[in-house]
Amino acid sequence: MSEGSAAPMAEPTKAGWFGDFGGRFAPEPLMPACLQLEEAFRDAWADPAFHEEFEEVLHSFGGRPTPITVCKRLSEELGITLLLKREDLAHTGSHKINNVIGQALLTKRMGKSKMIAETGAGQHGVASATAAALLGLECTVYMGEVDTQRQALNVFRMELLGATVHPVTSGSRTLKDAVNEAMRTWVAQVDDTHYCLGSVMGPHPFPWMVREFQSILGTEARDQSQAILNDVPDYVVACVGGGSNAAGLFSGFAESRSQLIGVEALGGAAIASGIPGVLHGMMSQILQDEQGQILEAHSISAGLDYPGIGPEHAHLASIGRATYATADDDEVLDALERLSNTEGIIPALEPSHALAWIMREAGKKIPKGSTVLLNMSGRGDKDVAQVREILQAKGRFQ
């Protein structure tokens, strides 16, 4: 079914395979769009003018480069040197903006006037609506009905930005179903519409393209940590939902000696608990039952509640270039609280998973004195209402 690609995090094969994972499992009506997209992306990505525009928009509009913050107090407490790549400072509050700017520019380049996107908690939806507003594209965001209710404010944000939010009432009415619905819509509107997928998932070229758009953060992080540490970090850690922030970060360190660690939510751990399968156009590790029916992921963090994982991560795990761990909800809340009150940064729940792993393993799997780079993939503002409710229920705040 595939032959592996050479260096870790090199380009996938022509058919979109990273080792045994990836590919293009899309209904025929979508295949021409995938092929067109691949061609358009290859063309754009080889065009210095596209890079220039992409980087210019990310700079002057998106707030790049984001800094690296060296944690003083928490590092001391943990006995390590902890660096944070501050994607929470990017416009709209997470790394998601990198990808959507790239795809929105590509949408225009392909001569399409509309964008659709799926969203779970709303982060990618808000980012997509933002990029669409900036470039004057029409935008529809598919969001599970359950999520539209949980995240009513994000729905409003998207609407303010001029997007239409389409509540998805099929299946579990959450992220997985939003992807299904977006794909279904794409099938019908592929002529004038680009599907702006939010992570390193889906049929080729999405996993590769999204990683490339996110690689800007890894490149920055590599240069910045070199400047700070005079070396690469010993550990490079990121949370993994679909895996776009991790892929972007890892890409800067794939050929270095850094250990790459992806941290999934315990209740959505496609590497730890999934097996190979095909979902949403890709072969990857997937949470599924014995028959192959897809299971729902359940964690505190909507952004990690995805039963699959980007195929490149499945590949990196299989060849041992990256290691994937999990964090449970309680650890995650502790991590969120601790970073907030020791460093003045309220992290999103997603990167709090990565931090939870670091806090658990500092002095254990992570030897004292190690240098650790954590991708602070987003800010916690979107999560404070939820976290407040949970911590208040635990009697921790009134």
Binding site: P29, G171, I286, G292
Partner: protein, 264 residues
């Protein structure tokens, strides 16, 4: 059970100037689903698509999704419905339609073998692209199952040619950009897609996706070799039409199709 190949059966009928009617039924959707299969066979279906329900059917519209959910809630597994299917003594060819993960999870050869054992002679996997087709192609061929491929309005001529070369059983021409579901006449793009594939294949060309009414079916077979009717039938079953309701509808489709006259 050794059955004639799907392709042979359909070619015969086409050669005999019969236009094909291929209805779709969701396996396990209700207690009496097998009776429904029997009833529509009796009502004049030339082949029957048997949907194996998948949790995430990205090529299906709301009606078939709902049927899939119902079926899964009833505890349907691929194994369980195939076993049931094996109990039918039917002359009408059966074509399973499902998504690739169920096939992959079972194992390609095992899955193909199971189909063969229960008398299925064709299989449609809409999310299995031409690019990823070869594994399944071989597994199916090994046991004489015809793997049916799709061509869409968006498919390029070059690509349509490659697909036509490897599809077996028939060629599934997608009648309209979009997922399965009922549509009004205006939206069908049948002529274009059918004439796109004709130069590249002698296979029967059947049009599905969006064919909902006898009138549409009749229009379809003016240019194609057959019409595939899914959501319109499934909706009637969801509404409680049962085997008789299904038979009545298939009867209507059949007469509409058969009443079409052709020049030359």
């Amino acid at each position: 059970m050794s059955r004639p190949r799907l392709e042979d059966r359909l070619r015969e009928r086409v050669a005999a100037k019969r236009k094909l009617l291929i209805p779709y039924v969701m396996a396990g959707q209700s207690e009496d689903w097998l009776e429904t299969v029997q009833a529509i066979a009796d009502a004049g279906a030339d082949a029957i698509e048997i949907g194996l329900p998948f949790s995430d059917p990205i090529m299906d519209g709301p009606v078939i999704q709902e049927a899939a959910v119902l079926s899964l809630e009833r505890g349907t597994t691929p194994q369980s419905v195939l076993n049931e299917l094996g109990r039918l003594e039917l002359d009408t060819p059966l074509v399973v339609m499902t998504y690739f993960n169920l096939v992959y999870r079972a194992g390609l050869d095992r899955f193909a073998g199971r189909l063969q054992e229960v008398g299925v002679t064709g299989c449609i996997i809409p999310d299995l692209s031409l690019e990823e087709f070869s594994g399944w192609e071989k597994a199916a061929e090994r046991v004489g199952i015809d793997p049916v491929l799709l061509v869409a309005p968006s498919t390029s001529a070059e690509r349509a040619k490659a697909i036509c070369e490897r599809s077996r059983g028939f060629l599934y021409a997608v009648g309209r950009m979009g997922v399965t579901g009922e549509r009004d006449d205006a939206s069908l793009e049948v002529g274009a897609v059918v004439s796109k594939v004709r130069p590249f294949t002698s296979l029967p060309v059947c049009v599905g996706v969006g064919v909902s009414t006898p009138e549409q079916a009749a229009a379809v077979v003016k240019v194609a070799d057959g019409a595939i009717v899914g959501s319109a039938l499934v909706r009637r079953l969801l509404e409680g039409g049962g085997p008789e309701g299904a038979a009545t509808f298939i009867g209507e489709l059949r007469s509409a199709i058969d009443s079409v006259t052709f020049d030359a």
